[in-house]
């Protein structure tokens, strides 16, 4: 007995996933390299984020919690670059803290590069606190006594001796904390940081969904979501960064996925009709 050949619809439904991966790969490469650029519509969370930073006065202190590593570089790097650029524009002082060894190195090097380009001095206007193994313990410690909790910066200088941190006794001396992270660290900031501190959030797109409850209740005042949020923020700042090209690539990848979902459903429908016709 001859084996039944698969119909085109059945072949579409059982397509080898490697073909799908190849199509997506080609799609990403084409639109990453293509000079096509689309403006973004500014979403309310990004606008709120921008407005909060705009309220800062020169010399105000900002804490940046940077916990991302190479894996989420495409989403978190444009966010951090745009945020640091905005803070420098407002002449705010900022410190960076990390809960991961890799993120310590990555954020330190990124901040060094971005601040050097704009003439910001390490130790005078910004500092990096290095790596802390436990965020909750660190936050609780910084709320009571920051210099004794952190003790030294990433270069080994005592915190109490740094001009950027002159007069700083605790986290209450800060105005804003910005959490740039691919993991769920923002609840720790919400729970344990002083209530006068404004919390702003820069998550990856996957983590953004669970932040809407905090946005709604006002516990987070603004949010930049992934590469697309970075593109919106760059647009507000009027700068060119990595957010725009990445967000455009994501646009066409989403379009491709939607097209294939519709195709898959169409194939399923046609397959059912064919099966019914054949008896």
């Amino acid at each position: 007995m001859q084996a039944r050949t698969q119909s085109v619809w059945q072949r579409m439904l059982s397509v080898d996933r490697r073909w799908l991966y190849l199509i997506l790969f080609v799609n990403i490469v084409i639109f990453l390299l293509a000079p096509l650029r689309m403006p973004a519509s500014i979403s309310p969370p990004v606008q709120k984020f921008y407005d909060e930073i705009e309220k800062l006065q020169p010399g105000d202190l900002v804490m940046i919690s940077s916990n991302w590593s190479a894996s989420t570089l495409a989403e978190n790097q444009p966010q951090l670059e745009a945020v640091i650029t905005h803070l420098m524009r407002k002449q705010a002082r900022f410190t960076i803290i990390s809960i991961e060894a890799q993120s310590r190195d990555i954020s330190y090097r990124l901040a060094e590069r971005v601040t050097k380009e704009k003439g910001y001095q390490y130790g005078e206007q910004w500092a990096h606190f290095g790596f802390v193994p436990n965020l909750v313990v660190a936050i609780k410690g910084m709320v009571t006594d920051l210099p004794n909790t952190i003790k030294q910066d990433v270069r080994g200088t005592e915190i109490s001796k740094m001009p950027a941190l002159r007069g700083v006794k605790s986290l209450s001396d800060y105005k804003v904390v910005i959490d740039v992270t691919p993991s769920g660290t923002v609840p720790a900031w919400i729970s344990y940081s002083p209530k006068n501190l404004t919390i702003l959030y820069c998550p990856t797109s996957v983590m953004a969904a669970e932040a809407y409850t905090y946005l709604d209740s006002g516990q987070i005042k603004g949010m930049i979501t992934g590469a697309k949020g970075a593109q919106e923020y760059e647009q507000l700042l009027g700068i060119k960064g990595l957010g725009a090209p990445f967000a455009n690539t994501i646009s066409f990848s989403h379009l491709l996925i939607i097209a294939f979902i519709l195709l898959g459903n169409f194939a399923m429908l046609m397959n059912r009709l064919q099966a019914r016709r054949e008896g």
Binding site: V143, P182, S183, S193, P194, K195, V206
Partner: protein, 276 residues
């Protein structure tokens, strides 16, 4: 002021007290013989089916607690894995437990050894089947994906806290044709598990699993206490919506409940009878 102590947020402290009371009272009720009902959770009913399929195919079962650091989520995950191991021990099905946290790994070794002992098959326990791969997220993910592919696992159980690596596990398991049951408290990973797994256990169903599988009175009672606490939350929300709609959000009682300011504010409001 931050919420570091109960005194900073009396409302939360009272809520915690009420939840604890509800749980303990219902545990007592259950221990005194009350018959408590728990609804069917399809994903948990499928555990035995998955193990049976593994045994027929002669391919291993993998259990993954994810990157959960040691805490209540990890303990719950290990409780579930202990149950699964006892079932596996009956059929001598090969198993692998892959951990991304060293403390969880240390406890898992003891838990799995205990499970085999309790099932009467201590000879089947192989310490090399409980492995710590890496605490780095994607090193762990690549280790797990590689093992699933090489050993062509037939059943994959993922219970615990997961992050971006969840889809890597689930899709790799799907590629090799494994039956997959996932349970997580990580809200953001639920869609990936729903898309790639056969059964997904969401939210507090994860905590209900040990009660469902063991039917122990203490656990059933605790579950009923949790549900009563949830009912309280729902009624409080409804009450707050109605009160705010009638009195407006500037009313003293709404402000008192909405902006806790410590024990002083609370006692003042009680003594003054209405808030500040």
């Amino acid at each position: 002021m931050s919420y570091q102590h109960a005194q900073d947020n009396w409302f939360s402290a009272i809520i915690i007290g009420f939840i604890a009371l509800a749980v303990l009272m219902n545990i007592l009720r259950a221990q005194l013989g009350a018959q408590l009902y728990i609804r069917r959770i399809p994903g948990l009913d499928a555990i035995d089916e998955a193990i049976g399929r593994s045994t027929e195919l002669g391919r291993p079962v993998t259990m993954i607690p994810g990157l959960t650091s040691f805490g209540v989520v990890a303990v719950q995950a290990l409780t579930i894995f202990k149950y699964i191991t006892k079932q596996i021990a009956r059929f001598a099905t090969p198993m692998r437990l892959l951990s991304g946290d060293p403390t969880v790994f240390a406890v898992a070794q003891e838990a799995i050894a205990d499970a085999y002992n309790e099932a009467g098959r201590p000879d089947l326990y192989d310490p090399d089947n409980v492995r710590f791969l890496s605490d780095r997220q994607f090193a762990f993910a690549s280790g797990v994906a590689g093992l699933i592919q090489r050993e062509r696992v037939a059943a994959n159980f993922m219970f615990g806290e997961f992050f971006a690596e969840s889809l890597i596990f689930a899709e790799t398991g799907n590629m090799v044709g494994a039956i997959q049951i996932a349970g997580t408290v990580s809200f953001t990973q639920v869609p990936f598990f729903v898309a790639a797994c056969d059964y997904t256990i969401i939210g507090d169903e994860f905590y209900a699993t040990s009660a469902y599988l063991s039917r122990e009175p203490v656990l059933l009672g605790s579950l009923v206490g949790q549900d009563i606490a949830k009912l309280l939350f729902a009624l409080t929300t409804l009450g707050g919506v109605i009160a705010a709609s009638i009195a407006g959000t500037d009313a003293p009682i709404i402000k008192l409940l909405g902006q806790p300011g410590g024990w002083e504010a609370f006692w003042k409001s009680v003594l003054q009878g209405g808030g500040q």
